[in-house]
C-alpha cells in the first residue's frame, strides 16, 4: 500500500475521534508538566474537546457512507447516531465531574479526565468499527479505562472490591467474546464484518453448528458488558464502589457501547446468515436472546425492590432497563434500530440526571442511603421536583422521554413478526413493579419530614447538568418527533 492510497481515504471523517484523542493526550501532558494554576481549568478543556467533537460530528450529518482502510473504520448513519449518544452522555458526565464541591473523594482529578476521554474514544471506535479487530480493540480500550476509573477511590474498600470484581468479570467476558469471534473467524476466514456476512449468507452447510456456538459464546461475552441477567453480578458492587460520575458513565456510555457492538455484530453478521435453508441464523436464535431479556427485566426489577443504597438501586434499575432495550433487538421491525437509539438517548438523560441528584445529596450528607431523600421537598423544593421528573421518566410516566421509549418498544414488540407477546407483557408488568421502588423515593421526598433542619442548595455549576438533563427528559417526552425525524 503506497502513500497515495493512504492519502486517498477521507481521513477528515475521523475528526471527532482525532479531537478526543488530541485533547486526551494534551490533558495528560498538561497535567504532568503544567503549572498548578492551570490544572483547575483542565476539566473545561475536556468539556471543550467533547463539545468540538460533537460539532465535528454534527457537520457529518447526512454524509454518505465512508470506509477507511478496508473497513477498519466505517462511517455510516448507524455510527453517526450512536456516537452522538456517547458524546452527549460523556459531555453531561464531564459537567457532573466539574460540579464537584467536596474535593477529598478522588485526588487524581487529571487522570480521571483523560481516562474518561480514553474510554469515550474506545466507545466511538466501537460505533465506527467495521472489522472485528477494531471493534474488539475499541471495546477493550473502553473496558480497561473503566476498570481503572472504578478503582480510583483508593481509600474506600468498596472501590477496590468493585474494581477487582469488575476486572475479573470483565476479563472473563473479554475471553468469551474473543473465543466466540475466533469461531466466526475460523468459519469464514475474515475479520471484516462485510466479508463475514457475505460468507455466511451462502449455505453454511456443516458449519452451522459451529456458527451457533460462536453466536452464543460471543453473545454471552458481550452480555456481561450490558449486564444482562445472569451475567449481571458485578454491576451493583461496581456502581456502589465507583465515584458517582463513574457509575453514571458505566451505566450510560459503557452500556450503550455494549448495545452498539451487539447490534453491529449480530445484526450485521448473523442477520444475513441463512440457517436450515429458510430463516436467518439470527431469527433462529431469537429465543435465546428473548430468554435473557425476560430474565433481565424480571430479576433486575424485583431485586431493586430490596435495595436501600441509592447507587445499588440505580444499578438494578439499569439492569432492568437493559432488559427493555433487548426487546427491540429480538422483535425485528424496520423501526427496531430507531427504538433502541431513542431509548438509549432517553436513558442517558434520565439516568445521568438521577445520578447527578444523588451526587449532590451524597456530597452534602456523606451518605448514599435512601434516607438522603427524606424530606427533600422541605429542604430544597427545586431538587425534589427535578428528581421527580427523572424518576417519572425512569418509571415511564407519560410526558417524559422514558414513556415514549417504552411505548415505542412495546408497540414494536407487539407489531413484530413473530410478535413477542410474552416479552411485551413482562415489560408492562415489570414497569408496574418498578413504580414501587421509584415511588418509594418520592414518598421519602414529599411525605417524610427531614431528619435535620436546613436547606440543600444547588450550586450554579451543579445546575448546568441538571438543567440539560431535565431539558432532554422533558423535551424528548413532549416532542419525541424532533429526535425521531432527526434519526431518519
Amino acid at each position: 500500500m503506497d502513500i497515495q492510497t493512504l492519502l486517498s481515504f477521507e481521513w477528515g471523517m475521523m475528526a471527532p475521534e482525532f479531537t478526543i484523542l488530541i485533547v486526551g493526550i494534551l490533558l495528560s501532558l498538561l497535567d504532568l508538566f503544567g503549572k498548578d494554576t492551570w490544572k483547575k481549568s483542565l476539566p473545561w478543556l475536556a468539556v471543550g474537546g467533547v463539545g468540538v467533537a460533537i460539532i465535528f460530528l454534527l457537520f457529518q450529518y447526512g454524509h454518505g457512507d465512508i470506509s477507511i482502510l478496508g473497513n477498519t473504520y466505517v462511517f455510516d448513519s448507524f455510527a453517526f447516531y450512536f456516537k452522538l449518544i456517547l458524546l452527549i452522555a460523556t459531555l453531561l458526565i464531564l459537567l457532573m465531574v466539574i460540579s464537584r464541591t467536596v474535593q477529598q473523594e478522588v485526588r487524581d482529578r487529571g487522570e480521571y479526565l483523560y481516562l474518561l476521554l480514553a474510554a469515550l474514544l474506545g466507545g466511538m471506535m466501537v460505533a465506527s468499527g467495521g472489522d472485528l479487530i477494531s471493534l474488539f480493540v475499541g471495546l477493550e480500550l473502553l473496558s480497561l479505562s473503566s476498570y481503572i476509573m472504578v478503582g480510583l477511590r483508593k481509600r474506600d474498600v468498596r472501590s477496590s472490591e468493585g474494581a477487582m470484581k469488575y476486572l475479573i468479570n470483565g476479563s472473563i467476558a473479554t475471553a468469551f467474546t474473543l473465543f466466540g469471534m475466533s469461531y466466526v473467524f475460523g468459519l469464514t476466514g475474515s475479520t471484516k464484518l462485510v466479508d463475514i456476512a457475505r460468507e455466511m449468507s451462502g449455505s453454511l452447510g456443516s458449519g452451522e453448528p459451529v456458527a451457533i456456538i460462536g453466536f452464543i459464546i460471543m453473545f454471552v461475552g458481550l452480555a456481561f458488558k450490558i449486564s444482562t441477567v445472569p451475567f449481571h453480578m458485578w454491576t451493583p458492587d461496581v456502581y456502589e464502589g465507583a465515584v458517582t460520575p463513574v457509575s453514571a458513565f458505566l451505566s450510560v456510555v459503557s452500556k450503550s457501547a455494549g448495545f452498539i457492538i451487539i447490534v453491529r455484530i449480530f445484526w450485521g453478521i448473523f442477520g444475513n446468515a441463512t440457517f436450515g435453508g429458510s430463516d436467518t441464523l439470527f431469527a433462529t436464535m431469537i429465543d435465546f436472546i428473548a430468554v435473557l431479556a425476560f430474565l433481565t427485566m424480571f430479576i433486575g426489577n424485583l431485586v431493586a425492590l430490596r435495595q436501600r443504597n441509592m447507587k445499588r438501586l440505580l444499578a438494578y434499575s439499569s439492569i432492568g432497563h437493559a432488559g427493555y432495550i433487548l426487546i427491540p433487538l429480538v422483535s425485528l421491525t424496520p423501526v427496531s434500530l430507531e427504538n433502541i437509539w431513542f431509548y438509549l438517548l432517553a436513558y442517558a438523560f434520565m439516568t445521568i440526571g438521577a445520578f447527578m441528584v444523588i451526587y449532590i445529596l451524597e456530597q452534602q450528607k456523606q451518605s448514599e442511603d435512601i434516607s438522603i431523600f427524606t424530606g427533600l421537598y422541605r429542604e430544597s423544593p427545586a431538587l425534589a421536583i427535578i428528581m421527580t421528573i427523572f424518576l417519572a421518566s425512569l418509571a415511564g410516566i407519560p410526558g417524559t422521554a422514558g414513556f415514549i421509549g417504552k411505548f415505542n418498544i412495546f408497540v414494536g414488540a407487539v407489531a413484530a413478526d413473530p410478535a413477542q407477546y410474552i416479552l411485551a407483557g413482562t415489560m408492562a408488568v415489570m414497569t408496574v413493579v418498578s413504580y414501587i421502588y421509584y415511588f418509594n423515593i418520592m414518598v421519602q421526598m414529599y411525605i417524610r419530614k427531614p431528619q435535620l433542619e436546613g436547606t440543600t442548595k444547588i450550586a450554579r455549576l451543579q445546575s448546568v447538568p441538571l438543567i440539560l438533563c431535565v431539558a432532554g427528559t422533558i423535551g424528548l417526552g413532549v416532542f419525541p418527533f424532533i429526535a425521531l425525524n432527526f434519526f431518519h
Binding site: L21, S28, L69, L121, V137, L144, Y147, I213
Partner: protein
C-alpha cells in the same frame, strides 16, 4: 498418522496438562512453571501451523516477559503462599458436568465440519506479510492498541501511587 499429527498430539497434550496442573498445584511458583509449559507448547503448535513469527513472539513475550513479571510479583509478595481451598463436591460436580456438556456440544459441532482443502503457501514470507498487514491495513486498530497501552500504564501508576505523595 504422520509426524505432524504426532507432534500436534504431544504439544496439545502438554498444553492442556499445563493448564490443569496450574489449577491443581498448591504452590504459586509451581503454578507459574506449569503456565510456562502451556505457553511453550502453544509456541510449538504455532510452528506446526507455519506461523514462526507468532511462535517466536509467544516465546519472547509470554514465556519470557510475562513469566518474569509474574515471578517478580511472586517474589515481592508472599512467595510462600499456598493455595488453601475448601473442596466443594457439589460445585466440582456441577463444573464437571458443564465441562462435559460443552465438550460434547463442541465435538458434535466440529465432527462433521468440512473446510475444503487447506491453505497453501502459508510459510512464504509470512513475517513480511504480517508486518504489511499491521502497519498498513490494520493501522487504525494498531494505533488504538497503543492508546490501550498508555491507559494501562497510567492506570498502573495511578493505582499503585501512594496517597499523599502528590502533595510534594
Amino acid at each position: 498418522m504422520n509426524g505432524e499429527f504426532i507432534a500436534f498430539l504431544i504439544l496439545s497434550f502438554t498444553a492442556i496438562l499445563g493448564g490443569i496442573l496450574m489449577l491443581n498445584l498448591k504452590k504459586v511458583v509451581h503454578m507459574l512453571l506449569s503456565v510456562v509449559l502451556t505457553f511453550v507448547s502453544l509456541a510449538g503448535i504455532y510452528v506446526l501451523l507455519s506461523a514462526e513469527f507468532v511462535a517466536v513472539v509467544q516465546i519472547l513475550i509470554y514465556s519470557g516477559a510475562v513469566t518474569i513479571i509474574l515471578a517478580f510479583g511472586i517474589m515481592l509478595t508472599k512467595h510462600t503462599a499456598r493455595d488453601e481451598r475448601t473442596s466443594n463436591r457439589l460445585r466440582a460436580a456441577l463444573v464437571g458436568v458443564g465441562v462435559l456438556v460443552f465438550f460434547f456440544t463442541v465435538y458434535g459441532a466440529i465432527d462433521n465440519l468440512f473446510f475444503g482443502p487447506g491453505a497453501e503457501g502459508l510459510h512464504v514470507e509470512n513475517t513480511q506479510q504480517i508486518g504489511e498487514r499491521i502497519f498498513a491495513h490494520y493501522v487504525i486498530p494498531f494505533e488504538l492498541v497503543s492508546i490501550v497501552l498508555l491507559v494501562a500504564l497510567m492506570g498502573a501508576i495511578v493505582l499503585a501511587r501512594k496517597e499523599g505523595e502528590e502533595n510534594k
